[in-house]
Amino acid sequence: MEQQYIKPPVEVRYAEELKALEQSDTGRKPENWRLSPKAVRTFILGGTADTPDGKVKIRRKFYGNDPLVERCIITLAGSRGLMLVGEPGTAKTMLSELLSAACCGTSTNTVQGTAGTTEDLIKYGWNYALLLAKGPCREALVPAPLLVGMEKGIFVRFEEMTRTPAEVQDCLISVMSDRIMNIPELGDDGIVMARRGFNIIGTANTRDKGVNEMSGALKRRFNFETVAPIKDVALEKEIILRETEDLAREGHIDMPVDRDIVELLAVTYHELREGRTSEGTVVERPASVMSTAEAVSVCFQTMSHAWYYGGGKTDVGILTENLIGAVCKEEQSDIEKLKAYFRTAVRQKAEKVGGAWIAYSETEGSLR
């Protein structure tokens, strides 16, 4: 199955790990959860699972803030929804997928919030042919993710919630309060009560803050967690390396990830995001999002180029060219900021550290 899809869902991608954890799980489970909170923690933060066939290593999938993951798990076992907020590219969506897959066995019961999202895309719609033929009946009802989640007792993932108009968001209030959805068209049969295990994981990026601010009433029904960018450059490097390796494996690119490229990218992204180099020089932050996910994408792009055109040899010049596309999206001045970074930080590192930084510094000319 993994072979057939560009991006298989988490429960497919990590099916073996989930199975091993399920087999070894002796902890208490909230009703209708696939794994216990302790096993969910192990699935996300890594560890081992003792199966009848021996110990299975569980890979760490989320880095940076272990207590946050623990809080998320416990929140989902309670009566409140979970709202993950943070800068774009901080792995909010990935975390919500991991949580859904581990707790409910599925991460695909999702609403994608946009300016055009309406209530029927969240709650339920109608098959109009059947509606006209048979009138309002259960058969004519098309359940949307919220209704599916309630009926099956699984999580609903609501992506980019603050991009959805506030009045549409508010349709969640009554469901989250009473755990009941009323479908008036169905009369007495229209009361749907949520099964145990139902909950909502929302995500919202802080750049959208103010587009459609959540109402106070809705906020009260969620616990908020802020997912921050990774502060440790060594950890960021490790994430870029691992994620790129995964992408390469999935894309059948059979070559090792160039560690120098990863180092250059991790440091560049980290320093541009923080606005300060490791030497203490202040650099201007680009308006674009300097997320780890973007760095992974640039790294994979550079690797793909090497695989298809470079005979398996990674070219630092291509890395710089890819960097332009990734960094200079929002404002024209971002290219100047990137140039300034090369003039100051990269040159300095080329002198002090040497190695791959020298070649990287020499590609400054391609920044046009």
């Binding site: 623990e70 416990i74 076992a77 309670g78 803050k209 009260r220």
Partner: protein
């Protein structure tokens, strides 16, 4: 616990130093390891005292404070309290700098050391400190290491060694906790309560020995660890030799070191120095949770002292240990919710309930038997913060941190050992009837010149302000530093005795035993660090306001700063300060310092520098002209013997090729003031500007500005300057006129309204008009005026070019 710290540790501990670290209730020595401010450490220590029944309790702490133990443990002393140690290295035993050193040894309800002393008192067992006296610790420590650091607030209770190695990181990783604080709370506080005293003793020894194994000998020599351990071991040996059953309470890091020394047999005593009593000492002091926390973090004991003190208080009152952390955490959560709601960050009952259930869930997930501070933080983070974690939303977390840290202040019951500076402060406040028995803000209206008491009170306030005690703020009154509001004869002070006032006064004890002495030392220190005359002059003003004469050394220091200062602006500020002090000396009844000599030295230096300052940057010209005017006025009033030198300097100044026009004008004006016959020089200078190119003509406005600033009467004497000014103005076209308008307006702003009227009248006469027409008549439309002007020009040109 054994599995976390490594199996076999117990056996290792029992083997160390011939079994001296073995937990043996029947033995003669127990070396109990502690972490400062740890409530469960205290709890287990009390249990160990019960089981061991010592005949003497020895506690890590500088032994020169042994006399203060009864004061600290007295019923009427309220914690937090501290022992304040100071040492003045006037004999140069530490280095050649002769610096003063100080440190606090804080005691909270949760401090094991305090509980050991208190148990001693309760059971009638002698208890005493066994560490080297504070001064000896410093003498035996390398500079910038251990307690011998230049930090303002060094704590004796330094826990840095517990987290210095990477061991705690490995343990955190192994146990899936994110920080040392969480690791400690989980295993040594919450789970530590479930252990017996013996199990706890071994667990803590295990952790500390692991840490010590990674420490190198040279680092321990440098920071004085080894020499202190030798002294502590010696004191323990002495007690053992006299037949006592000894319970020694020391930081866990030291225990194995001390055991090793004791097992080696003879211990070489540390050589102690004879230090005069006035150069070293210690006092009991009221302390605050806030200060205890700011010293904390990884380096000095547990953080959030109020929270852990609450745990200890409940344990002491006999509360069930299996729920004590749960109840303290819930109490903290509810108080946080309550406070947050009062501060416009509403927290509902539902939020509090969600936070509590989250805390319990997290404790279960983390395998902790009770909720600790980490769980409260997580509960608040998740359930109380409704948005992105940012300063706009994280108020509940800030409230939680404040409540966990605490804001209570202790009190020392027995005043016998009250720090002298605090005693002097209270005495002086009492003599001036200032209300200091509460922490409410009061106001005092001080009449400066109606009697001696007013000035004395003002000086007390200024002294306390200078010492930065935070006791008082001057709300209204003359400001002699800037020269503002000098007409005021009263000062209004707002004052309030908050705990920080006492803390600062105790801190300042190293500076002197009275407030006056402390101010003198502080002023001397301030002058030492200042090299610009403007700064030393400000300190001299402080001393003047405080009624503290400059000592000979300080006086020379001020003179030195003037001699060494090459900055004309700094010297100008100093000149104005000293001039103010000279004028007010008699009024303030403060004739102890010769300010005139300082003034004269300033003036001489300025006269020397003046000729070189003819062309300052344009933005500094205004300040320079103001200094030049001050120089003239001060020389004429107070230093007439320097007038010829000033005149000569101005002469040299104007002879310079490059001159800033405003400065030039000011210099010409001052020379005219010295000698009215030099009027023609001022005229020809202006003529020079008039005859120049358009650019030079524009500078004429600046010249006039400077000239009128220093000698406004020059324009009133006759019409020559007025006509030249008129010529200057009418020579500009419309755009240029708008450009020079600001300096011209500034130039004429120096005149009084009656002088302006007189000038207007004379200009009007020269145009055959009435002054009133110009001042009060209807303004002519600019376009109409320009049209008339062009007709005039055309007529003149048609008449034969009379304008050529």
């Amino acid at each position: 616990m054994d599995s976390i710290l490594g199996n076999g540790r117990l056996a290792q501990i029992n083997e160390i130093s011939g079994g001296l670290l073995r937990y043996d209730p029947e033995g003669r020595l127990m070396l109990f390891p502690v972490r400062h401010h740890s409530p469960v450490c205290s709890y287990q220590l009390i249990r160990a005292i019960d089981e061991f029944s010592p005949t003497v309790i020895l506690v890590e702490g500088p032994e020169n404070a042994n006399d203060l133990i009864p004061v600290l443990t007295a019923e009427d002393t309220e914690l937090p309290a501290a022992i304040y140690y100071f040492y003045k290295d006037k004999g140069g035993l530490i280095n050649d700098l002769g610096q003063d050193y100080r440190c606090y040894y804080p005691f909270l309800t949760a401090s094991p050391e305090y509980n050991a002393l208190r148990e001693g008192r309760k059971r009638g067992i002698p208890a005493r400190f066994i560490d080297l006296p504070f001064c000896e610790i410093l003498i035996n420590t390398s500079e910038n290491s251990g307690l011998c650091r230049p930090d303002e607030r060094v704590s004796y209770a330094d826990d840095a060694k517990l987290t210095r190695s990477d061991i705690y990181k490995a343990l955190c990783e192994k146990t899936s906790v994110s920080s040392f604080d969480e690791f400690w709370e989980k295993y040594f506080e919450i789970e530590g309560l479930r252990l017996s005293a013996e199990e706890y003793y071994y667990a803590l020894h295990s952790y500390c020995i692991m840490n010590r194994e990674t420490e190198n000998i040279s680092a321990m020599t440098e920071d004085g660890t080894l020499v202190r351990e030798r002294h502590m071991a010696l004191r323990i040996r002495e007690a053992l030799d006299s037949g006592e059953r000894v319970l020694a309470v020391t930081g866990g890091f030291h225990s194995s070191g001390i055991a090793e020394l004791l097992s080696e047999g003879k211990i070489k005593p540390v050589r102690l120095h004879k230090i005069p009593a006035d150069r070293q000492g210690c006092f009991p002091a009221a302390y605050s949770y806030e200060a205890a926390d700011s010293l904390n973090g990884y380096s000095a004991g547990m953080n959030s002292p109020a929270y852990y003190d609450n745990v200890m208080k409940r344990l002491l009152s006999g509360e069930d240990k299996s729920s004590v952390f749960d109840s303290c955490s819930l109490d903290l959560l509810v108080r946080t919710a309550d406070e947050a709601s009062k501060k416009d960050s509403p927290v509902t009952i539902s939020d509090t309930s969600a936070a509590e259930s989250l805390m319990k869930g997290l404790a279960a997930l983390r395998n902790i038997s009770q909720c600790g501070l980490a769980e409260v933080r997580d509960g608040v983070t998740s359930a109380f913060i409704k948005g992105e974690m940012s300063p706009s939303y994280d108020m509940p977390l800030r409230i939680l941190a404040r409540l966990a840290s605490g804001d209570a202040v202790g009190r020392i019951g027995d005043k016998t050992f009250q720090p002298p500076l605090v005693a002097d402060f209270e005495k002086q406040c009492a003599s001036h009837r200032l209300k200091i028995s509460d922490s409410v803000q009061h106001e005092s209206d001080v009449s400066l010149f109606s009697g001696k008491s007013g000035l004395a009170l003002s000086r007390l306030f200024h002294r306390l302000d200078f010492l930065r005690t935070g006791f008082c703020v001057l709300a209204k009154g003359p400001d002699l530093h800037s020269g503002a509001d000098r007409n005021r004869v009263r000062e209004i002070w707002q004052y309030r005795r908050v705990p920080q006032v006492d803390s600062v006064l105790i801190d300042r004890t190293a500076d002197g035993f009275t407030i006056a002495e402390a101010c003198t030392s502080a002023a001397a220190r301030a002058l030492d660090g200042q090299h610009k005359s403007a700064q030393t002059a400000q300190t001299a003003v402080d001393c003047f306001l405080m009624g503290i004469p400059l000592t000979d050394e300080q006086y020379l220091s001020v003179l030195g700063s003037i001699d060494g200062d090459g900055d004309i602006f700094s010297l100008g500020n100093a000149l104005e300060c000293f001039s103010r002090l000279c004028s007010l000396q008699e009024l303030y009844g403060f004739l102890d310092t010769d300010y005139k000599k300082l003034l004269s030295r300033c003036m001489e230096k300025l006269i020397y520098l003046l000729p070189y300052s003819a062309d300052p940057p344009r933005e500094s010209a205004a300040r320079l002209t103001s200094i030049m005017r001050s120089m003239y006025s001060i020389a004429a009033r107070l230093l007439p013997h320097l007038c010829p030198d000033l005149e000569k300097a101005l002469d040299t100044m104007i002879s310079r090729q490059q001159k800033e026009p405003t400065v030039y004008g000011t210099a010409m004006g001052l020379l005219y003031s010295f000698d009215s016959s030099r009027r023609s020089d001022a005229e020809s200078a202006l003529r020079g500007y008039l005859n120049g190119s358009a650019g030079i003509r524009k500078l004429g406005a600046d010249y006039l500005c400077g000239l009128f600033t220093s000698a406004g009467d020059i324009v009133l004497a006759d019409d020559v300057f007025l006509k030249m000014t008129d010529e200057l103005i009418t020579g500009f076209d419309s755009n240029d006129f708008l450009e020079i308008l600001p300096p011209l307006k500034l130039a004429f702003s120096r005149f009084t309204p009656s002088e302006i009227r007189s000038i207007a009248h004379r200009i009007a006469q020269s145009y055959s008009s009435d002054g009133n027409d110009i001042l009060f008549g209807e303004a002519v439309d600019e376009a109409l005026y320009l049209f008339g002007q062009s007709i005039d020009r055309e007529v003149i040109s048609q008449l034969g070019g009379a304008d050529k």
